[in-house]
């Protein structure tokens, strides 16, 4: 037999190495992913914060004072690549209510896939008060779970003050943002129609988290306007979740004035510590040292522990 054995050995080794390289490929991809995404980074935990203030956001050039120039499709096309997509989004929002089909066409020109989805979700939110069916169609046409959820969430917010049942119904399609949506929609609704908002939460739909966040929304949104008004609404909440409502009250009121809110919390009887906890949670973002001190001063051990766990993480 004339087979060259050394060559066979080399080929066998080469084959083994090649096999090893492909066998380890999935592992190396996983390792690369672990190193690429730093654990603990906010964006790793919260993929996309909901947009509680979304309705108030005005795109550049739309409305407002100061004579801002109206953006045009042509102007956007002439812009540099990094601002072109943002410009197109603004143009789409400008025309969404009048001509949603045109707005969707403009969104289709957005190059970045993520921004394109966001653009369509914005169009749906803007057109929702004028034509719900069009908004729903746009939302359903989105390809990612995230933006479909955000789209329905946005539609819910857009109609929270005018049609509470419909707005809450949109939240049922908001996927991962369902409870965020209910919280904000009910909160917005409470500002114009407290009875309707209370009626939604009083149904006690969903699990404990869904139910208690509903009352939290009422407490937080009303407290942004008036802490006493929020406290009166919280008094109507289901007793099991009343503490969560006062937590929302403390958080919402502390956005304006933490000191005045703490003084108000002191008068809230058995819910004073829930209220203080809400203030501490709000302060965590701007004054973490004071937030820790506030938590440490809370008398109720369980609330103090939860408060400290949150502000120190």
């Amino acid at each position: 037999m004339r087979t060259p054995p050394f060559v066979l050995l080399c080929l066998a080794c080469f084959g083994a190495l090649l096999g090893l390289r492909f066998a380890l490929e999935p592992l190396s991809a996983r390792v690369a992913a672990v190193f690429a995404e730093p654990r603990g980074a906010p964006e790793a935990v919260m993929a996309l914060p909901p947009k509680p203030e979304g309705l108030d956001a005005k795109p550049p050039g739309e409305g407002g004072e100061g004579g801002a120039a109206l953006l045009t499709l042509e102007a956007c096309e002439a812009m540099a690549k990094d601002v072109r997509d943002v410009c197109l989004q603004a143009v789409a929002r400008q025309s969404a209510a009048r001509d949603p089909d045109h707005a969707v066409d403009v969104c289709a020109k957005v190059a970045d896939a993520e921004l394109r989805e966001e653009c369509n979700a914005d169009v749906a939110e803007t057109v929702a008060p004028v034509d719900r069916a069009v908004g729903e169609r746009i939302c359903e046409g989105l390809s990612t779970v995230k933006w479909r959820g955000q789209c329905h969430f946005g539609m819910g917010l857009a109609l929270a003050e005018t049609d509470v049942p419909y707005a809450v119904g949109r939240c049922e399609r908001a996927e991962a943002f369902r409870d965020f949506c209910r919280h904000d929609v009910v909160g917005e609704a409470a500002l114009v129609d407290l009875e309707a908002a209370v009626a939604v939460c009083a149904k006690e739909e969903g699990d404990a988290l869904t139910r208690k966040t509903c009352w939290h929304g009422i407490g937080k949104y009303l407290a942004r306007r008036s802490a006493p008004e929020a406290a009166a609404a919280c008094a109507r909440s289901t007793p099991d979740w009343r503490g969560n409502c006062f937590h929302g009250l403390g958080w919402g009121a502390a956005e304006r004035d933490p000191d005045a809110t703490l003084a108000f919390c002191a008068d809230q009887g058995p819910y004073a510590d829930n209220c203080r906890q809400g203030v501490a949670h709000q302060l965590k973002r701007f004054d973490p040292t004071r937030a820790v001190a506030l938590c440490e001063a809370i008398a109720t051990p369980a609330i103090r522990d939860r408060c400290l766990a949150f502000v120190t993480r």
Binding site: C13, L48, R178, F180, L209
Partner: protein, 85 residues
């Protein structure tokens, strides 16, 4: 036993050939080094596989459906954004 291939003497490794002839002196260290490296590499790969860190718990990304998200991590997500206590 040696065979001529391309004018170069190469050692045969078929059964029965290795016991009656010496490996050429220049090739033996190369083979030993190659074998050692291969053994080290496979041992290292196996050790790495065994000692690799456990998979991190999946973060609540919005690409996951509502029903796919663990309620405790979802609650934490809500806490971080000020939606519950």
């Amino acid at each position: 036993m040696y065979r001529k291939r391309g004018g170069m003497a190469i050692r045969g490794f078929l059964p029965g050939e290795a016991d009656h002839a010496k490996v050429p002196s220049m090739r033996k260290p190369v083979l030993v080094a190659f074998g050692t490296l291969l053994a080290l590499a496979s041992t290292g790969a196996m050790a790495w596989w065994k000692l690799r860190p456990a998979d991190p718990p999946p973060a609540p990304t919005a690409e996951r459906g509502y029903d796919d998200i663990q309620r405790d991590e979802y609650e934490r997500w809500m806490q971080d954004l000020g939606y519950t206590e």
